[in-house]
Every structure is written in structure tokens, then in C-alpha cells.
Amino acid sequence: MMNVIEFRQFSKRNGAFTLQNLNFPIQSGYITGLIGPNGSGKTTMIRSIMNLIRPDFGEVLVFDQSYHNQERDIKRRIGFVYDEDFFYNHLTVNEMKKIVSSFYPTWNESVFRKYLDDFQLPSRRKIRDLSKGMKTKFALATALAHEPDLLIMDEPTSGLDPVFRREVLSILSEYIQEGTRSVLFSTHISTDLERIADYIVYIRNGQLKYCGSKEDLIDSYVLVKGPIEWLRLNRLENTFSGKQQNALGFEGLIAKESYSEDVFGNQVTVEMPSLDDILFYTREEK
């Protein structure tokens, strides 16, 4: 299987935390979700993939190419949707488009028009007068219009209403339909990923916690709920990756390999965890 992005012995110190010796690939042809708590290094990672931040050590390869000598070619093939404003606020949608499109030889005006229509974006309105959601739509339209091989989005769905968030998911799954294009998006709204993400990259405190298919990640845990008394009697407190308890009972996450029906019996209920459950209960795991 081909990699669209590959971190190689990558390290970068950035203020409070350090991305430390990251070694992992991102598969070509799929949707990969980048998850982790706020301040864990998601944005730094994405900026590194865009070469907006230089590593202290190691490198990031994109399309098997290095930024040392192929920056122009790499960037032309990436569509980038960023959480912050990077458009000129005093320009209209149309004027801004003219500037952006001039960077890309592959710019497809009819694709751009189509998204402008779909998103109901007024082309003569000034960027500063667009709502946050409309700015994201505009960013997505320009990113898709040059028909990139890789779409990278940093928190694209934050600040968007549920209707458009769903629309984005459809656009993404249509976008990878042929199997030759890839998507990487970071989000803290893991329900968006729950549905369509094929692969998950999970980072915490600047370190890679998991990289692999979403299925395997969810499959590797079970969510257990039951009475506190039971927990005490069976001395199983330490088998949990994380748990919470109150007067009515406990809920916790256990690695599937540590769980067995013989030990846990029928006094507890066992469920498939969501990505949120996994993020929450593994947040302090060693």
C-alpha cells in the first residue's frame, strides 16, 4: 500500500510540548482522522506537513517527495483548509479566487463555480462580511477547485452547523471515490470521524498513541459498566485504561485482551466504545 504522507524520525520542539520522534505513514486513497486533546500537537503536525514549520530533526515526506527539493510540486497537489483566516479580508470572494487560482495550473473553474453554487456563496461579497461557516465553505471550495491529490483540513467542522458538517462528510467520501485521492483532517468532534474515517492518527502530549484503522482501534477496547461493589470485590481496578465512578456505579474502558467473560460475568454490561469514549478514558493512560 502506498503512503501519501510519511513522518520519519520527526521531532519538533514547540513551546510547551515536543513532537517526539514520530515515525508513521498515512495511507494513500483513504480518509484519515487526526485526533487528540487540545494542545496535543495536531496543528503543529499539520503545519509540518505543509512545511510551514521546519522540523528540528527528521522529515515529512509527501507523495514520497521531500520538501528539500520538491516544495512547489508538493504544494500544488495539496488542498488546504485551515481553521484560521488566511484570506485577504478587504477583497471580495471573486477577487480572492483570482489570486488563489493563479497559483495552481490545475485550477478548474467549473468545479469552483459548482461549489460556490452548492454552498450558496455570494461571489461579490467581501471576505470580511462572510460568517465563519461561509469562510470555511469558501476555503473548501478553493481547496477542491484545483483538484488536489491530498486534501488537508485543520478542524474544518468546528464552528459549522450540523447540516453543513454532514455535507462536508459527503463531499469527502465522494472525493476519495476513485481511490487515488486522500484526505487528512484533524478534529475534536470525533462523531464526524466515527462515520467516515478509515484510519486514525491519535496523538497525545506530542507523542503518537495510535496509528491504524479506526475499526481496529475501536475493536481493541470494551466499555464496561457496573456496580462499584463489584469493582472492589473483584480487585480489577487496575485493569482499566481509565474509569469514572459515582454513587450509582462505574464506567470504564478496558483493553479487549484484558477482558474475559469468565472474570466479568453477567453483573456488568459491556458495550462497544465510541471514539469519544476511547479519547476520554485513555487521556491519562501511561
Binding site: G179, R195, K214, E215
Partner: protein, 126 residues
Amino acid sequence: MHLSVSLTSGEPIYLQIKEQIKNQILTGQLHEGELLPSIRNLAQNLKISVITTKRAYDELEQDGLVTSVSGKGTFVSGGNKESIREIKYRALEDQVRLTIKESRSIGLTKREFLNLVTILYGEENE
């Protein structure tokens, strides 16, 4: 082919897809030789992960219910259909046996038991 997945049922999505396709093959709604939608196409329509869909197809293939031909797609093979039905039939027999035992334990007569079955069956299958 009709498929629908629930994200809130707690049952893994790949399993839901697998079971629905399996049932449609066993009940003859899907015929031998029929071409299933491509993995990516199915994923797009259901708005779910490509890997999830692939897993469902892979397991159907392991069960011998579909065959994938590279470059062409996934087809209903149906070869295993009878044996799977038989296995299911036997599992059903065991369940009924258990139910009969239960009904005896609370003193139900055969007639009462059959009445119950008739009533419940009728409700669900009209």
C-alpha cells in the same frame, strides 16, 4: 439491494452490513452471480468508512457467500448457501428446544405453547 446501517444500535457497522447482505443472499433476494456495489461506492452511499465496508465484504467472502474478482468486483457466489441455511436451521432447533423447556418449567401445555407461537408469528409476519 437495500442496506441501512444504524450508528446508535451498538452493533458494529461492518457486522450490520454483513448480516444484511447475508440474509438477502440466504432468502434469495440477491441471486447467484449478481454483482454487488463496489466497496468505495457502498461506503460513499452509506457515508461510512471504506475499511468498514471492506471488512464486511472480506468476511462474506470468508463465509463463501461472495467471490471477489480483481478488477471486476464482488459477486454473489451462493455456493455455500444451503450449508449456511442448514447451520442456521440447526441453531434455530436448539433455540426452540430451549424455549419448550422453559415453557414446561412454568407449566404451559403444548396447546398453550402453540397458541402463543401462532399469536406471535401472526403479528410479525402478516
